[in-house]
């Protein structure tokens, strides 16, 4: 168990180091998400009540769409650097590779959210920096990184993968996006945990099911 965790962390640390040097992924997610949010401040006239209505939807649409960009890069880098075969040749089991990649993606998305949330709060004038929303954001990041890692591995060798990944990832993530939007909506309107417990359950169920399903299916994706 301890050795497995160490392997997962080593794999994730590799991606984090690469990211620290290039700053490709997190920067792409943050800038793209902020662009989406900014465009919406023009597209919708933001009266206080309207901010409450559309804000959570805009926030999570921005995170989901921007997240795809980052997920794309995580395997594209391996493919472009011809390191995918090297990764597959490492003497560790495929599920550990999956969890390593997933952990890396989870950290990228979470860091991006740490930047996105305060800016969103400033632009939309609604308070999303609360314990409840942070828990929701973590649950969403887990689900996004699980589904995203599996689909990124599936689409890495396809031509025009930049198009393919969003087409696979976004519809599959719809339940999670729904749960995140609805719970955030409840929180910014002053509701407490019990008011969105159904949605929380949905998000947790999504995470559990897709972490398992993605880990199992990932092995078939990286087979040669």
């Amino acid at each position: 168990m301890g050795a497995s965790l160490a392997t997962v962390w080593t794999l994730a640390r590799k991606d984090l180091l690469l990211e620290l040097r290039s700053r490709d992924i997190v920067l792409a997610i943050v800038v793209f998400a902020l662009l989406v949010i900014t465009i919406f401040t023009f597209a919708v006239e933001l009266t206080p009540s309207r901010s409450m209505d559309v804000g959570p939807g805009v926030l999570w649409a921005a995170v989901a769409f921007a997240g795809v960009l980052g997920l794309n890069r995580s395997f594209a880098m391996e493919a472009e650097g011809d390191t995918l075969d090297g990764l597959m040749l490492t003497p560790v089991s495929r599920d550990l590779i999956f969890f390593g990649k997933m952990l890396g993606n989870f950290i990228f998305i979470t860091i991006a959210e740490i930047v996105i949330f305060p800016v969103f709060e400033a632009l939309f004038n609604i308070s999303v920096l609360q314990v409840e929303t942070i828990v929701i954001a973590l649950l969403a990041s887990i689900g996004f990184s699980a589904v995203g890692t599996a689909f990124a591995a599936v689409s890495v060798r396809v031509r025009s993968r930049e198009i393919m990944l969003p087409l696979l990832f976004l519809p599959a993530s719809v339940p999670l996006i729904m749960a995140a939007v609805e719970s955030t909506s409840v929180v910014v309107n002053g509701g407490s945990w019990s008011a969105f417990s159904d949605w929380l359950q949905l998000a947790i169920a999504f995470d559990v099911i897709f972490v398992i399903a993605s880990a199992v299916l990932f092995q078939f994706a990286l087979e040669n």
Partner: protein, 250 residues
């Protein structure tokens, strides 16, 4: 081979006969529904195609798992046949549903759980087919497509549960004769629905099996071309044959 062909012909005849019977029942035999009028007749198409689209998802899921387990190409062909046929039926379901909803509910579309689920699943299987179209044929495509097939199937109940929660949180702005009451489906209406469902299931099986057969022939042609291209060229003229690209398709 001929036995199989005969079965197919008999099945085609059976489907055609059933279709004639169904059309007669829908347009001439079954009485007009009292609340909704003639538009209700579109439900005799809508419910059966919805049913077959569901069968298609099940077929893709089973065939995809079986492919990953056995690596037998026949399962992949079955999944493709299910997906391509299923997507047509799903599109028909969405269209017939909207045509019915506009006069009856007053809106083309609403956040009803089954509608939302269908639309999302429709997108997932469109992506499945696009993926197959983008990827060069071979073992890798079959394997990766099977992964998408299984992911979509795993997602189906979660999407449905989410859509139900969403429907509860956002009561639909539905106004119309059917917005409050459920219509009953017994008597001639129920019988017509049953016969229509049988007919469209038969149609689905026929179309999917034709697609399966075509797929098999495509694979055979691809294999033949590959064999030819491996032969040593005998003369300059024969190399033309070998330059052909492998057969693509979804």
């Amino acid at each position: 081979m001929t036995a199989l062909r005969n079965i197919r012909l008999v099945w085609l005849g059976l489907t055609a006969g059933l279709m004639a019977l169904t059309l007669w029942m829908i347009f001439l035999w079954v009485p007009t529904e009292i609340n909704q009028g003639n538009i209700q007749r579109s439900l005799y198409f809508h419910v059966p195609v919805a049913w077959t689209a569901m069968i298609a998802i099940l077929l893709i899921a089973v065939a995809s798992v079986a492919y990953l387990k056995t690596r037998d190409e026949k399962w992949d062909r079955l999944a493709v046949a299910g997906a391509e046929t299923g997507i047509i039926f799903a599109a028909l379901m969405l269209i017939t549903g909207m045509v019915w909803a506009k006069p009856v509910w007053g809106v083309w579309w609403t956040g009803e759980a089954k509608l939302t689920t269908t639309l999302i699943l429709f997108f997932i299987y469109v992506a499945y087919l696009m993926f197959r179209a983008y990827f060069p044929p071979g073992e890798q495509r079959r394997r990766l497509a099977a992964i998408i097939g299984v992911m979509g199937a795993v997602d189906t109940p979660i999407i449905y549960y989410g859509a139900q929660l969403w429907e509860r949180a956002h009561p639909a702005a539905v106004v119309g004769p059917l917005s409050e009451s459920d219509s009953s489906v017994d008597g001639p209406i129920g019988l017509t629905l049953m016969v229509a469902t049988l007919t469209f299931s038969a149609l689905f099986v026929y179309v999917a099996s034709e697609r399966y057969r075509l797929r098999k022939q495509e694979d055979e042609v691809t294999a033949l071309r590959r064999t030819i291209s491996l032969l040593p060229p005998r003369s300059a003229s024969s190399t033309d044959v070998t330059s052909g690209v492998p057969v693509g398709g979804a």
